[in-house]
């Protein structure tokens, strides 16, 4: 059974419809990537799954329960945590306080301050610094650590490589195996196709609010992906 089963998900911003009947599955412990160009609906999809945009109850089924349209603070308590686009650290809080905010959910498990600091040792050194005083890559580590502190069963990552240098992106993605090892399913939304293909068990490509392609990275050809990504 899927941990997350999305069926016929539509989403709109006022009069503008951004998603048209998306079907998508994530099994427990699986890593899935969503790729697509700007405006394909990737971030909208995450917003609908996390309750930030209205969704029909049955369109999002998590762990066998319909959760579409629930409030964001209820959905995260169920075990779906989001690393939001642009990191969105709390500027008034230190690194450690930002991490502790993730634990407000009250779920217990593998992830604690201790284990997050083991995953990203540099954060331990900067624990008392304001979150926004860190470099972009370190801020991304805080954002990921903060989401992990909720001990999610499903971690959603929105464009975690955006605006970062390739070497920093490599460091960030190096954390994914450790996250998977704890049994957490990971959904990454990426514009960087190469990165997405390298990390994911399965890939979905979005185009103008539809799923234009899905499959295992090894089964997909470059032509297929280019066609699905750009619509050419």
């Amino acid at each position: 059974m899927s941990l997350l089963a999305v069926r016929g998900l539509t989403a709109r911003y006022g009069d503008f419809q951004a998603l048209f009947g998306i079907d998508l599955d994530i099994a427990a412990g699986e890593t899935v990537a969503i790729i697509g160009a700007n405006g394909a609906g990737k971030s909208t999809f995450l917003k609908a799954v996390t309750g930030q945009l209205a969704a029909a109850p049955d369109a999002v089924v998590y762990d066998g329960r319909p959760i579409g349209g629930e409030a964001p603070h209820h959905i995260v308590r169920r075990g779906i945590a989001l690393v939001p686009e642009g990191r969105q650290l709390f500027p008034s809080l230190t690194v450690e306080e930002n991490l502790l905010m993730g634990a407000c959910v009250g779920r217990t498990g593998h992830w604690t301050l201790q284990t997050v600091y083991e995953l990203f040792p540099v954060l331990r050194e900067r624990r008392s610094a304001p979150g926004t005083a860190l470099s972009g890559g370190q801020q991304q580590m805080v954002a990921i650590g903060r989401a992990l502190m909720a001990n999610p069963r499903l971690l959603l990552c929105d464009e975690i490589s955006l605006g970062l240098a390739p070497i920093v992106i490599r460091d960030i993605y190096a954390a994914v195996p450790a996250i998977r090892a704890g049994g957490t399913a990971v959904l990454v939304v990426e514009q960087d196709i190469r990165q997405a293909m390298a990390v994911a068990d399965r890939v979905y490509c979005f185009q103008e609010g539809h799923v234009s392609l899905s499959g295992r990275p090894a089964d997909l050809t470059l032509d297929q992906i280019t066609q699905a990504y750009f619509g050419m």
């Binding site: 930030q52 964001p72 603070h73 995260v76 008034s92 407000c104």
Partner: protein, 288 residues
């Protein structure tokens, strides 16, 4: 020496202004809500004190045990039941609703307690004082007010920077939408902040009722003092609010020393001077 005395008395008066202002500052800091009924809520607390003193015969300071929790409960309910509905992208609805609330509170107090001038009698405490060299005397009551103001603001500072709920207040203030992604119910958090603010209002109201005469309609003037103290100190900074209250108090005391008629005016002039020279206030929170 008269001038030194004026400054000393002004500092202690400033303690009361700081208490008026703290709740306003806290509410604005956490949810960017300007509560125009703030002064009337202070007066409401003062009248609650009157009711408790008349009903149970307690010493005015002891009424805090009842009035503080009562105001906190009222604050939670008010936020959950009314003010949360006004929060959103537009700043106009909260202004209109709290302005209306101000009128409602004043009229309910007029109906219930009449327009008579009231005061809470604190017995010997009102006249007890410490005599210092040079003819300066410090009243115990004003001193207690100042010390309570420092204690309340120090306590709030500890809550904000050393506790989990304080961390949640600051995070929600930074970005309520992202705080919700951490499992925070922002409506509950806002209501807790309002409960805390009205608890401080209760302390301010009771102390005001012991220090000065009051009627149901003096709320808006208290709001003005509170607003001036917050702006002088800088938005979002609690210690700044204490400093703002003290500066306002000293300005008023010096004004009164020049001529009793210019006491209030001197406070407004000090406020305008700060606004002209440092529009962001003296101690604004760095991030803003």
């Amino acid at each position: 020496m008269e001038w030194v005395n004026a400054v000393v008395q002004g500092v202690m008066l400033g303690g009361l202004f700081a208490l008026f202002a703290t709740g306003l500052s806290l509410i604005f800091g956490v949810m960017r809500l300007v509560n125009l009924a703030h002064g009337d809520l202070i007066v409401l607390a003062a009248f609650l004190g009157v009711a408790v003193v008349e009903g149970l015969g307690l010493h005015p300071l002891v009424t805090l045990v009842i009035v503080v929790p009562a105001m906190a409960l009222l604050g939670y309910g008010l936020q959950r039941g009314l003010l949360n509905l006004t929060l959103g992208g537009d700043i106009l609805p909260p202004l209109l609703v709290t302005f209306g609330l101000s009128i409602v509170i004043q009229n309910v107090l007029l109906e219930t307690f009449s327009a008579d001038t009231r005061r809470l009698q604190a017995g010997a405490l009102e006249t007890a004082s410490i005599e210092l060299a040079g003819g300066i005397s410090i009243g115990w009551l004003p001193l207690i007010v100042l010390l309570l103001a420092v204690a309340v603001i120090g306590g709030l500072q500890l809550v904000f920077y050393r506790t989990k709920i304080g961390r949640i207040f600051r995070a929600t203030s930074d970005n309520p939408a992202v705080a919700r992604l951490m499992g925070v119910n922002h409506r509950h958090v806002f209501a807790l902040a309002m409960a805390l603010a009205l608890a401080v209002c209760a302390v301010a109201g009771i102390l005001m009722a012991i220090r000065t005469n009051f009627t149901p309609t003096i709320g808006p003037a208290r709001l003005l003092f509170a607003f001036e103290a917050v702006i002088i100190g800088g938005l979002g900074s609690l210690w700044g609010t204490l400093a703002g209250g003290i500066i306002l108090g000293v300005a008023q005391a010096i004004g009164a020393q020049i001529h009793p008629g210019v006491q209030i005016l001197a406070g407004h002039i000090a406020f305008l001077a700060v606004l002209a020279v440092r529009p962001q206030g003296l101690f604004p929170r760095l991030r803003d």
